[in-house]
Amino acid sequence: SGPGSGTSAASDAASVAPGKSGGTFVFLPKSLNNPYWVDARKGMEAEAKKLGVKAQFLGPDNDDAAAQVQIFDSVLATNPAGIAISPNDPASVVGDIAKARAAGIPVIAWDGPVPNSQVLGYIGTNNVAAGEQAGEALASAIGNKGKVAVVIGSLTAVNLNQRLEGVKKALAKHPDIKLVATQTSGESVATAQSAAETILQAQPDLSGMIGIGGSDLPGIAGALKSGGKCGSIKAVGFDVVPQGIAGMKGGCVDALISQKPFGMTAQALQILVDLDKGKPGPGKDFNIDTGVVTVTPSTLDEFLKTEH
């Protein structure tokens, strides 16, 4: 749907207001502590300003399913105009989604799907597909052969595990590529860098590395830089965050997979506002894939000009 012009197609007077209930729209990200979510929040804020609605961005400090459900619980008490949820664990939010719907609050899944739930639809990317793109990007960067290693933010986060699954799927298509090490970083750049540094010690003939979580590629880039391996070992990661950009400009990063959180979130807010106004929105059980983009040094400048 297009940008909400507000007054059209209104059968009842209340819908003249920017939102039928006049309430706040709430976004529930997995956490706050990550540049990816900063871009997402900026997308929400920009769109909220454009549409003249109130929107809130509420998440736990770290990716934590129980903490997120607690926030969800508390948010329900404030009777918001609409909710977009990016679940840390899909199964854990099914109950609250049902409660919200029962209270007449529209809920959509955003950034990560919630299968078997009463969400009105999903807008976001397919993490498995994104993982496959990352795997392919790395494969082509290293010439389809060699040893590669993975640093992953958490072994328990559903979205990261899906990305890892995609990466493995893509690498499996290249018989000459071997995944020799997987380490976790606990979503910390410092730990990611330490892990990557240590992997470099243990695997002197490594060809490439993939950082799965938002903090992982920055750590890998740092490790390559301090080990003097920029360029000789290829690095691929997710999210176009400042350090990733800096790393790419410094020749330490070869590809970034962007989920375009800014645009994705802006569009999600648009959908919520439409739903709140009683507009049909994108349809029943919509599934909008906002797509992932592989950014390489040659396409970086072009990409940065877009609202990603």
Binding site: T24, D61, N62, I71, S74, L76, A91, G95, T156
Partner: protein, 297 residues
């Protein structure tokens, strides 16, 4: 203090005193209180249990594994998970009491090990698809009050009575107040030590099962950081990490305070980026106020 906060909140936010919100906060408090009650026992003897969060994770995946993956009946699965949790407590207690290692070290090791096992047996994935009867534990209500609140209330009352009215409870205080004197008075200090770690682990396991049911998912990442919450609740409630001082009543107030803050900051619409500043200040302020009041009394 907590009362003051509640009054303030009722005025400041129209949502606070709605039945919906009270149920929500009540359930959150209940789950946390079960763990911090167990922690209170350990702290009373001058120990510390860092492994409670990992026990929640372990129990969560054990429940899921037994019930969903193996398809065992809910009762059996819950029992298995409980036993798993208790076993962790026995290991903690025995190494601490008989091996003489500081409880901080033992349970720090267990913090890593128990979560490692949870991670290892699931390979990191989460388990869902629990049968409906099991979900009643965490999501259902009896007489309009959520089941976890009933369970937490019973546990807290029993724990309070045990600590204040039974010889076992008084011996816990004695051990915490002066371990050497306890030995010389003929108390079997080592047995008491093992027992408090078993209680702490057991209650963490109960909370883990309830949380699994409430979230409908068994996950190896569950319970992260709960140890700090539980220790914080007990200490805010007046318990001393040096042992011998504390009680379930104080811990309940501490738990309530910590969780009310989180709820309140959301209800009041404080920017999530600044929420932690408030919550830190409120914690310190509340304890300071309490201390000041007690000194004047």
């Amino acid at each position: 203090m907590v009362i003051l906060l509640i009054i303030f909140l009722s005025i400041a936010s129209p949502y606070f005193l709605t039945p919906g919100n009270i149920t929500v906060v009540g359930r959150q408090i209940a789950l946390a209180l079960i763990i911090s009650t167990g922690m209170t026992f350990v702290i009373l003897i001058g120990g510390i249990d860092l492994s409670v969060g990992s026990i929640v994770a372990l129990v969560s995946v054990l429940t899921g594994g037994a019930m969903v993956s193996l398809g065992l009946p809910p009762v059996v699965a819950v029992l298995i998970a409980l036993l798993g949790g208790l076993a962790v407590g026995v290991v903690n207690g025995v190494i601490n009491a008989y091996g003489g290692l500081p409880s901080f070290v033992v349970t720090l090791g267990m913090l890593a090990a128990a979560r490692g096992v949870a991670l290892g047996i699931t390979g990191g994935s989460t388990i869902s698809g629990f049968p409906e009867p099991f979900l009643f534990l965490g999501q259902g209500s009896i007489a309009g009050v959520p089941v976890p609140i009933w369970i937490a209330a019973v546990i807290a009352v029993v724990a309070h009575v045990v600590l204040t009215r039974t010889t076992y409870g008084r011996h816990i205080f004695f051990v915490g107040s002066n371990e050497e004197a306890a030995v010389l008075s003929g108390i079997d200090v080592r047995r008491i030590k093992v027992s408090v770690f078993v209680i702490s682990a057991g209650l963490a396991a109960v909370s883990g099962i309830l949380e699994t049911s409430r979230l409908s998912v068994g996950q190896p990442g569950a319970g992260n950081g709960y140890e700090l919450l539980a220790i914080g609740a007990a200490v805010i409630g007046g318990a001393s990490l040096f042992g011998g001082v504390g009680g379930v009543l104080g811990t309940a107030l501490g738990t309530t305070l910590l969780l009310l803050i989180q709820n309140a900051l959301i209800l009041l619409g404080i920017s999530p980026y600044w929420q932690q500043v408030f919550s830190g200040a409120i914690i310190v302020g509340a304890v300071a106020l309490n201390q000041w009041r007690r000194r004047r009394a």
